[in-house]
Subunit: 110 residues, 4 copies
């Protein structure tokens, strides 16, 4: 393979295509998908409320609850990411992951 892609990070191995991937265990993937299914349902629910002319205050609170649910998904994913890819890339001296992660965290904070 000649200049083989350096499988440098056991967790987010850079595949031959050069893109990083994530390798969560099945349990986490299932948990994330379940939560996202519920959020998808909440968004559909908000659409229904608007179509049924539900009082705006109730709709606004339903949107806020969908956003909090998305927050929960981000938090779980950030934790898993930190404890796998970030930790592994740092242990291999790949400090770029710090700036990458900080940018993502500051976007989340907005």
């Amino acid at each position: 393979m000649g200049d083989e892609i350096n499988e440098n990070c056991s967790t987010c191995e850079t595949e031959t295509s050069g893109t990083r991937t994530a390798h969560h265990d099945e349990k986490i993937i299932k948990e994330l998908i379940n939560r996202l299914n519920r959020i998808e349902g909440q968004v559909r629910g908000v659409k229904g409320m608007i179509e049924r002319h539900v009082y705006c205050d109730d709709v606004l609170n339903q949107i806020t609850s969908a956003q909090s649910a998305l927050d929960g998904v981000s938090k779980l994913l950030l934790e898993k990411h930190f404890k796998s890819c970030v930790k592994d890339r740092l242990s291999q001296g790949d400090d770029e992951v710090i700036d990458e992660l900080l940018k993502t965290i500051f976007r989340m904070k907005r």
Copy 2:
């Protein structure tokens, strides 16, 4: 009184059932629904990314973008609500709408 709508607030009439409703014009409803359709697509997109083991950092940023889109829907809805129900209820001396709205705004801020 027959089936007359209790006209105490021209915009968010309290129907005989006592629940408030909202009356946005069709253009706003269409705009809100379009945005929510896109957000629903974004949430489905996040699910797909997780199923395809996309690198977590990219997934986190996609979730943040769905949250910003939801922020946009809240802002539009808050403006319409303010310029219709809130204004009308205040003009009829119904100050309860202030505390109701402040609670909702503070939840949005979290």
Copy 3:
């Protein structure tokens, strides 16, 4: 006085200089000032922590607590503003206050 400034809003009268002012009662002013004194002390406390090389995590949490305290001041002020100036300007048909307030609320949300 000829073209006298229209004392149109009993609460946030536009003084002859044309600038709006606020008229909170003494109790609220005292409450706001007390809270701001404490926050000033918190900010000074953070400076001291940095000068004493206190562990960053502790400093970060102290900054977050000062921000929450500022949130509390904003909430109290927003409520008083809403129940005085905003309400009065709306009752006099001055709808500009809605866009002004929404802009401020959306800035607070960032």
Copy 4:
């Protein structure tokens, strides 16, 4: 062992007293202190505005700007913390720093 600092983390040495400390370089300390001095001034400025009955909307925006300035201090501190203590503790297998940092980040996000 005499009065030797326990060198288990070159950056945030745990002193004999068991508390972690931070060791930013002078330039960063000066930058953080300058920013905090300005924020202290902003908080004092808000107090003055309230005492002078400045229109609430202007005061609310001044508070928001002080909060953004505090955000800036947190971001700078988080970056330095990440690139020193967090990185060093992870490199020594001290994974507890991950949960500690995530808790702090989630508090910042509220």
